[in-house]
Amino acid sequence: MNEYRLHATAPVAMLDRQAPAARRGRVRLHPGGAAMTSVAVDGDALADLVLAIAERSDQAAFVALFEHFAPRVKGFLMRQGAMESEAEDLAQDVLLTVWRKASQFDPAKAAVSTWIFTIARNRRIDVLRRERRPEPDADDPLMAGEPPPSAEVHLNSAQVQARMREAIATLPAEQAQVVTLSFYEDMAHSEIAERLGIPLGTVKSRLRLAFRKVKAHVGDAFT
């Protein structure tokens, strides 16, 4: 009983109470993990949920995020070759990290899905591949002078994400294929070339074209 209520009603109650975008009825949660590949969740509402965790350790907000993202993180990790049990454990870890690091989330810099993607990616590399993930250190003096996010940027991260989704959805099939293999199959370019029976240079040029098309559609939101 209690458990069921956590699943089914707590997020809704929370959303009604706190998330403005959700009040407008744009958040759709999928209790029970119904298979949905087309996402109609409003990115602003998701960002509100993370901020609610950061600002007041809001558990109901966490439940809503968990129900949306944990099955996707799990599916994503399994698609990349993780065993079901590994993907289960990692998905739980990733969402726990979302709770613990919510204060580090900056909605001006990234959409929630992007932020969680990077957490999942890094956990996979750490736990499944047992490697470090070298990343430039934001405190490195070499990186001083990074231009702050422009105040004139007219799209927020969630809107940028929506445009990116449109652009990816309209990629030509052969470009979508190499993007899919890069993100979903954990394959090196040489392995993609082998799988598709095309030269390595063709893999790289298709990725370049796909990336440029997506960037052109999104515009200068990332400056």
């Binding site: 558990q59 994503f76 969680i116 994400q161 979903y184 370019h189």
Partner: protein, 235 residues
């Protein structure tokens, strides 16, 4: 900072997707430390990753997963500081090698701090002889992952020995410069070489060239003969 040579967009995408091993990722991260343009491209590629992850077919978690996680919310985070997250100010390159034989880059060329977990101090690092005028330190070993990264110091005018490789090779200059068939590479520049590219970098200035080299396949130094290691004419 005028970085002129960048990784391909395909490599930046692979870095963002998590498809590069630790060695090549280290090379890309070192370049990113110098290059705002490529940092932006990586953020864009990560946003693609966010879309790709969100659009995947979800797989339901096991019953009770949410309750289990809720029960752990207030547990203290496991105490495992990532060394990469605890770095301080980057160490400057020493102006003089431990042996006193070589002037290296001036103290105005600090190492990117992403290297700190791998190499603490150039002067006391365990340099191994690779060829006359060329020394190396292994940073990421193939045994530990899918690729390798080494730190090289190449004396002025020296040529990196001929080496063949089956996959992707990258070089990032940390101080000094080198030239190869693609042009001249200085601090922060990244050279990306596919397996079919002929590539024989020459340290082309009056100072030692300190650089990272990484590959996703074992390097085969085949030219360990004096012929190819002789200082080039004119140096």
């Amino acid at each position: 900072m005028t970085v002129k040579h960048h990784p391909s967009e395909a490599v930046l995408l692979a870095y963002a997707a998590g498809g590069l091993g630790e060695g090549l990722s280290l090379l890309v991260a070192a370049h990113l430390s110098f290059c705002p343009r490529c940092r932006r491209a990586v953020r864009e590629a990560e946003a693609m990753g966010g879309v790709m992850m969100e659009d995947i077919a979800p797989v339901a978690l096991r019953p009770g997963a949410l309750e289990g996680v809720l029960a752990r919310l207030d547990a203290p985070a496991p105490n495992a500081p990532d060394p990469a997250q605890t770095v301080g100010a980057p160490l400057p390159l020493p102006t003089r090698h431990a042996s006193g034989e070589t002037d290296v880059a001036d103290a105005g060329s600090p190492l990117p701090s992403v290297l700190r977990p791998y190499v603490h101090d150039l002067a006391t690092a365990r340099w191994q002889w690779l060829a006359p005028g060329v020394r190396q330190v292994d940073l990421v070993h193939r045994a530990r992952g899918r690729d390798t990264a080494k730190l090289l110091r190449i004396a002025p005018g020296r040529v990196l020995p001929h080496h063949g490789h089956a996959g992707l090779e990258m070089t990032v200059v940390l101080s000094g410069s080198f030239s190869d068939e693609q042009g001249r590479f200085t601090r922060g520049d990244l050279a990306e070489i596919d397996s079919d590219t002929h590539h024989q970098p020459i340290a082309d200035s009056g100072e030692e060239c300190v650089c990272l080299i990484g590959t996703d396949a074992p390097l085969r130094f085949s030219g360990l003969v004096p012929r190819v290691m002789a200082p080039m004419m004119g140096f």
